[in-house]
């Protein structure tokens, strides 16, 4: 059997793990510096917790888990009213088509059967599980509650570059506060994190209130989601594509005409604000949106990132109601969205807790990784796979056993080391192992060394060799701690 892994999934070897850990450490450290506290939620949620939160498209991409045991024991046929008449009709049809020409789908509808055979699903993002967590723990939580969460999510998307079926999200959200200081603080958090990662970025933002206002202005308030989804595709399908989709969704030609300045305008942030101001006119929600946009533009402190008001930024997820964020790399050829987020006024409402405004962002560390690889942004000490600091080489069972004691002393001094695990007189093979694994020092332990309590110590980079006692060896390695 030739082994493989499911498409859209990946293994991470030691070299990739080290780079991923580098990104995660920077992001996590900043989450903590900004006052977010960690939580984790289960990989599986009840299906009812997840469905209906991500739109129809999203629902299809949720991975469902088959009930364990006899998952077919539910009374599906009875419940769908598949009685003797339906059965007879199906049977007559079957007789005509003969065996093999009738697929199971004729008898069974996969959508109707689903609730009978699956009750759990893999989480699709970290935001809905967070909302569920907040509602379940509302009496223990001090609000406003700032939490961060770093866990994988799963989506049955068609795999392609930068799109995986299992990937990590790193989310920071604050819930229970509608103050825009939270948005400003999140902008600082993004700016500081990408500065430390050294990834040049544009922080794009917009405000959903503008989109709602526009839907009202063009007299299509009920089509706000269709409009959002269509505009969200501007990058992919261009202006004509968006107009075509708007038209297909039944938006009038006049309304589409009104929206054109939005789709066409190029200019700086303050010019864009003026375009929006004209578009929304006296619409109250629109005026509020513009006020919020101006507040963020006037008060954000950036040390590294560029910020850009993107008046066509829409973001697909249904639950956003105010500011929306998206970050893209500002260099290289691979520039997918590497962070997304926004404000939601009623995420916990669906679970019974009303009036909880929240705002959050989600770092897409898999894509940040891809961007950093393309732009060669990992520092040298991260790019080179680290390993243990020292290998003990030896000649036989007795000298190997002695290494165990030496290794214990080194490890107590927080120096990583390993003992060549096989017994062989061939020193060359042991040095070759150190070489292949980038182990920078080798200590050779023979009978003479044990007797004299001084050991041969070789720097694999410089080739330098010396004899050292165990204490001298520890000093030497501590001295070299930062060099390697």
């Amino acid at each position: 059997m030739k082994p493989s892994i499911p498409k859209g999934t990946r293994d991470f070897g030691p070299a990739e793990m080290q780079k991923r850990q580098y990104i995660l450490d920077i992001v996590r450290n900043n989450f903590e510096l900004f006052g977010y506290q960690p939580i984790e939620t289960p990989s599986m949620e009840n299906i009812t917790t997840l469905t209906g939160k991500y739109g129809d498209e999203g629902d299809k991409l949720i991975f469902k888990i088959l009930n364990s045991g006899d998952y077919l024991s539910g009374d599906y046929l009875k419940d769908i009213g598949f009685g003797i008449e339906e059965f007879t009709r199906f049977y007559e049809n079957w007789k005509v088509n003969k065996t093999g020409d009738t697929s199971l789908s004729e008898l069974l509808d996969h959508k109707a059967l689903l609730p009978y055979i699956s009750e759990k699903a893999l989480r699709y993002d970290l935001t809905v599980p967070f909302a569920r967590y907040v509602v379940m723990n509302q009496h223990q939580i001090t609000f406003p509650f700032k939490r961060y969460q770093v866990q994988p999510v799963w989506r049955a998307d068609r795999p392609q570059k930068g799109r995986y079926r299992e990937f990590y999200q790193c989310d920071a959200d604050v819930i229970g506060s509608d103050s825009l200081i939270n948005e400003l603080d999140l902008i600082s958090l993004m700016d500081k994190s990408f500065r430390e990662l050294n990834v040049p970025v544009i922080i794009k933002f917009n405000n959903r209130k503008i989109l709602s206002a526009l839907a009202e202005v063009i007299n299509e308030p009920s089509k706000i989601i269709d409009i959002t989804v269509a505009i969200d595709k501007l990058d992919k399908v261009g202006k004509d594509g968006v107009n075509k989709e708007l038209s297909e969704k039944g938006i009038s030609a006049k309304a589409i005409e009104t929206l054109q300045p939005l789709l066409e305008f190029k200019g700086d942030n303050s010019q864009k604000v003026e375009v929006l101001r004209k578009l929304v006119g006296n619409n109250e929600e629109g005026k509020k949106g513009i006020e919020e946009i101006e507040y963020l533009l006037n008060n954000c402190n950036l040390s590294f990132a560029r910020i850009e008001l993107d008046i066509t930024l829409a973001r697909g997820l249904n639950y956003y109601t105010g500011t929306i964020f998206e970050v893209k790399a500002n260099a290289g050829t691979f520039t997918p969205s590497i962070l997304g987020g926004g404000r939601y006024d009623d995420l916990t409402g669906i679970f019974g807790l009303k009036n909880m405004s929240g705002v959050g962002i989600s770092f897409g560390i898999d894509r940040i990784y891809d961007v950093m690889e393309e732009l060669n942004l990992f520092p040298d000490h991260v790019s080179k796979v680290s390993s243990t600091k020292l290998l003990f080489a030896h000649f036989d069972l007795d000298t190997q056993k002695h290494c165990l004691k030496l290794a214990a002393r080194l490890r107590e001094n927080n120096i990583s080391c390993e003992i060549y695990p096989d017994v062989t007189k061939k020193l060359g093979k042991q040095f070759e192992y150190a070489d292949k694994k980038n182990i920078p020092f080798v200590c050779t332990v023979g009978g003479d060394e044990i007797a004299s309590q001084t050991y041969s110590f070789k720097n694999m980079t410089s080739g330098e060799q010396k004899k050292l006692s165990l204490n001298e060896l520890i000093d030497e390695l501590n001295k070299n701690r930062d060099d390697i």
Copy 2:
């Protein structure tokens, strides 16, 4: 809708996360000190990778993932030869029983249908995915390969205390070396880790070669798995229970009689070795097993843990072939197995890579957590939920905005802080928030403070208040870094 989570799963809040992280940090640090390198594998594996590796019981406990889209599109009925005759028979039966009395299971067999609707499953442990990884990456890996892996696994077990449907495993394995130095090094790793966790433990071990030898000695070599499974239950069902099960499996009364010294003997490690020596007699594999056991007993260096040869330790998993390990807490009332492991001579063979002996251990950090909670073993600084170090309190939008700049400076100095997110003149509410969240310092920023560039600074524990410049504030907090 009242939200809930699937049974056997858990949320972890900030307090639990901090304790879990404490355990994980200690274990991970030791993995690295001992020369293990990190990898991660996907949560989902192809079902064919997992089935048949954990015995029939294990296979049932694997969580299967429903194919996405129309998961019923496969030609199940055709493939199982459900032709017109079978259908007619089913139809006649249906007519008699009428609608609703016939369950879907009569037409559909869940076991036969499974391959048509599910191709992926959640990993059941980290060892089989590791073997799969090694085989797929064999040409890039330097052997012997020492890897560690810290990820959740899923089992559809009946939930109970200490048994969850999603739990973390922390595995360290070395593959490509059959030297017993690896077992000795793993014993040191366990000893050092549990010492640092301060969990009193007994490291129990045995050797599967003894069990194989005994199966030969009693002339039941083909029943080695039945014998292993039965003996493994000694703790739960007692000697009589084991004997009953052996008898039910067709082991002769005489053979069972021969095994009795194994089940009954109490004594120290060297006395147990003598019992085994008598039992295995001249059996070559048995003699090899005893030699290995003695090597470990004579050469292990322990600083904290007790080691005990447990001649009835069997461990259920099929793939072990040599040393087997199990660790239990040596105090308290809750003493499940908190670590397991052993040597396997041919784990990668099933994936086409022969002659790769390996040995590894798996820390059960969820149970270690439960034991540490019961015994109250978490240090104070871990038991108390930490938070940000400082809260900025303020009076209005302008003073709040000023806090953003101060916060940025603190964070650049690696001091975590947050700004009270709502705008309120009520200072009391802001101090209450700091109090509830255990934030040790509050800095109040009003108009006077901004003008004078000195800020009110309160130590929430001592109640002490003073006025400080930003630089003095940073010094003060750095000075207090270790106190809190």
